[in-house]
Amino acid sequence: MADTKPTYEELEARLVEAEKIIEAIRAEEVDAVIGKDKIYLIRLKEMEKAVHESQEEARERSAEIEAIYNSAPVGLCFLGPDLRYIRVNQRLADINGIPVTDHIGKTVHEIVPQLAARAEEIYQHICQSGKPVFNAEFKWASASEPHLNRHWNEHWSPIKNVNGDLVGINVAVHDITERKEAEDMLQKAQERLEEKVAERTTRLDLLTEQLRELTMQLMVTERNERQRIAGILHDELQQFLVGAKIRLESLYQSLNSEDEQGKLDKSIQLIVESLKMSRSLTEELAPKAMEHESLGKIFEWVCDFMGKMHNLKVELVLDDEIEIRNGDIRLFLGQSVRELLFNVVKHSGVDAARIRLSRDKKGLLQIAVSDQGKGFDPSLIHETQPLGTHFGLFSMQQRLSFLEGSMKVETTQDKGTTCTLTLPLEGIEPPEVAEESTPPGNPSETIRAHKGSRIHVLVVDDHEVIREAFIALLEKEPDIKVLGHAEDGTQAIEMALRLIPDVVLMDINMQETDGIEATRAIHSALPEVQIIGLSIDDSKATVERMYASGACGFVGKDCGSADVLAAIREHGLRHKRRNAPSQSLPLM
């Protein structure tokens, strides 16, 4: 069909039609437009409304993000490729000291040149790995505080488009100076603390060492003092007492009245008691047995002592033979064991105990003192004892600990107590203690030999008082003649060989050459000479040693003078009988 040109009227009509359509569209009263082969729905209002709403929402969100972005306490920026600032928040602008707008389009190198190299490094890393970089730390002075080097912590997060291509990087910058400073301070404080602790430890070690030395010194001093007092008791007091007793006894015969004799007898008994007490105290203060290096021997003495003094039956079990050269340690251990046995006597309610001496696997010395008694109150360990010969469990524990030893108390009610002392044997070598030497005694005057029917006696004693007392006693006896007197062992040997007495009254404890040695020498040269030991110490061991060296008798110095006279007569007459046919003079 050929197109015919529309008429003017037709064109006008179409125009009117078109105007009506436009009007309807303008009035937004249209639903759909009908195309050649399709109907297009037009929901203008709804569309407009939806667009408006989403725009509003986008605006609100944008404002929110903007507010957060700008008020964030951390510096934020979005860097495009080539590290150009696309977006920067106020905080970062403040840090950099450059307005926000001046950042935009500029590179990191232009804004903060000092960080450019490091920023480039991180950027390259992100480009290659595609992963964010967290906690990158920078140290630099910001424009706002140019003289203060601050610590900055940065998070770099890559932003990618839907295809996964990198479009830029979000950077968050956080000031961690205060945290760093706090960490530094903490670190320094810890170092200082460690230094202090080390210092204190060193001081403590030093103090411990000093305390240990003091403990050793205390033990040495205590030992010396005990020996000094024991020495005074033995060498002075007891000798005076013996002297007094001998003199009183020699007076006894000259008294006629029984009443006077009775009174004197009482005085003599008092002296005898004093001697006993003094002797016991001497033994307690400085036991001779402590001179043994063998702990077994020392404990044997302790057992003997406890039996004699306290009726305690002590069984001694020696698993190992242990010798200790350090006299102070020996004394300390002996006294400790004695102390533990005293506790058995005081608290256990039984009259038997056991000492076990052994060496454990580590080589530590172990001394266990046990009983089967009623148990022991461990609080007594801390009970301080009054000053005296007992030094208390607490003190014992302390001293042991300073010697790197220990004390363990195991006690059960009615099932007994075991106290175990443990001590390392190494490192307890004796401290140097200077031994005082006594000057040799003056040579006594030589007394000529007088042979006859009387019993000739040589008096040997290092105490003048005793010598004189004996001489005074003996010279009253018509059948006894004192040939001479010597004040030490050497002089006694020399005089015995020269004078050939019937009897030698030999004191045992003398300086230099003692009575035992002198007896041995005299006996081997003149076996017929009767030697009678004299001592305040009448312990079994001493008596045995005296007999072993050749003595024929033994008299305690505190025995009655009648005993001394009887012994002299008995042995003197025996000598006289033996030598009756011919008396030989010694070769001089």
């Binding site: 009506k20 569209i25 009263e29 249209v30 759909a32 009908i34 729905l41």
Partner: protein, 101 residues
């Protein structure tokens, strides 16, 4: 071609075709408005054919209808087409040639 827009004897009958797009809001409004106008002014003398362009696409094309809602006065002749929701009653009455009461 007769134009009868200038005369209304008062008992003239009207026939309309209303082109709508389904249940779309404006189409619906147009339908309601048309019925109300007819009931108010030409009650008993009108006929409305509602054409859904989604169902009668060709009919729309034949009548050169390019927008909905669109109203065609079939009779009396000549055909008149108006567009929109027919909310301006005065304008509609005038356009389709119904005398005001």
């Amino acid at each position: 071609m007769n134009y009868s827009s200038d005369a209304d004897s008062g008992n003239e009958e009207f026939a309309f075709q209303l082109f709508v797009a389904g249940e779309e809001r404006h189409s619906d409004e147009a339908k309601q408005n048309l019925i109300q106008i007819c009931e108010s002014h030409i009650k008993g003398r009108y006929e409305i054919q509602v054409v859904d362009v989604f169902k009668s696409f060709d009919l729309a094309l034949e009548n050169s209808i390019f927008l909905t809602p669109a109203l065609i006065r079939i009779s009396p002749r000549p055909q008149i087409t108006i567009y929109g929701t027919l909310s301006d009653t005065e304008k509609v009455l005038k356009a389709v040639g119904i005398e005001g009461n």
